[in-house]
Symmetry: none
Subunit: 133 residues, 4 copies
Amino acid sequence: MKIEYDTKQPIYLQIMQNMITRILRGEFKPGDKLPSWVDAGLEYGVNHNTIARVYMEMGRLGLVETRRGEGTFITQDKSALLKCHESMKEELLNKFFAEMQLLGYSPDEIFQSFEAYFRAKIQERLLNQESLL
Amino acid sequence: MKIEYDTKQPIYLQIMQNMITRILRGEFKPGDKLPSWVDAGLEYGVNHNTIARVYMEMGRLGLVETRRGEGTFITQDKSALLKCHESMKEELLNKFFAEMQLLGYSPDEIFQSFEAYFRAKIQERLLNQESLL
Amino acid sequence: MKIEYDTKQPIYLQIMQNMITRILRGEFKPGDKLPSWVDAGLEYGVNHNTIARVYMEMGRLGLVETRRGEGTFITQDKSALLKCHESMKEELLNKFFAEMQLLGYSPDEIFQSFEAYFRAKIQERLLNQESLL
Amino acid sequence: MKIEYDTKQPIYLQIMQNMITRILRGEFKPGDKLPSWVDAGLEYGVNHNTIARVYMEMGRLGLVETRRGEGTFITQDKSALLKCHESMKEELLNKFFAEMQLLGYSPDEIFQSFEAYFRAKIQERLLNQESLL
DNA sequence: GTGGTCTAGACCACA
DNA sequence: GTGGTCTAGACCACT
């Protein structure tokens, strides 16, 4: 994973999002132990306090729970993970729709734009596959 | 327009986005004069320096041009406006797609999610219209 | 206010509780600006980062809202303050009752203990007043 | 008994409180032998070192005494138990009262709040009893 | 060794 | 000047 140091997004949020997506995609299983502050700090190339903040925020979201002296673990509560997953999806959809409307597009135009974009994406993927043959 | 003071988004960006969408939606026409710093400041309830920054950033995008002693005007160059419109749409689509993929969704799942969201949106709007009758 | 450095309670929590009680008791009014990080840091004799954490946590509780570049303000939303007040009262009552039960007291015994304690407290206050005459 | 891993309270204190209340409620009698480190560790699901610390702290309070090679026993000295009981009650009352005052309540208001809470508690219990019939 | 708190000081973005 | 992020390093409590 590459961290963008120059961008607006603070790096603790970048790391947090990276970890969340890794969790939601199943790279870490419920109950798994996350790397310690210092290990994760070394891995991402940041100070360990930055990792501490990431873990604290994720704890607040209910994604992980941390046991002093032991480590930080993915929550066993799968429903919390699912809920988080759903809410993040909803949020993305809402944001996308709202911002497209702000640009002056009607719902129908949004749908058409998205469909066109999606088809172009698929085309592109097919071409890439062919070029690999 | 309501400004969110508590969010991460700086208020100059909020105002800027608001003005851009107003321009792109045709509320202001090419060549129109934008309100002065102080007027816009009063309108939005912010310091006029904040407005100055907004105009400066929009000038950098080529959307407006500032003529010293006269004011700030929307560019006559319609193609610049169009280009800006298109690029913002592209950006939104790309961002949405990329972030959905980060959550672990495949392109097909993204499309299905969006379609479901869109249908729900339409339904909702129909119901609201009925309730107004 | 005096900070206990030697106790278990982290000082950022001590300061936070102190500020919350000052708010709830009306020492600060809704909309008031809290002292800046550095000022509060000097006042309490702690590092400004510690104050930053206090304000962040209070922001999460909805007690204050912070506007970058301007300062941290008590929320205008009085209902949020009231809700916080009530919930803290409830929490105290629940905790007290639960812990007394853990010690083996029945509800009736708890009530009697509390009443006796209360009467003793009143007596004591009366005596103090007399001694001041 | 359920241990809260995620809370601020260290687990050795949670276990210690649990054991003390069990003693004070008479579950263990004076002179009884407490379970060994490892047994108690298994029972609570924690490392036996944690239990060792619990016993050590309780020994410091004079509640138990550890005899090398034999085990840990509840003190025969009933007055020590009683004293501990009383002091814990006092502490709870003091803490409750002080914290309510910090929230801005006068002694009278505290009494009223407590009475209301107590009555609600009784009501609730009655309703539960009825529903069981 | 792991998390939790705190400090001192730095740099940045915002108003 | 104010809040926001980050670092480097320290000390502590817990397992």
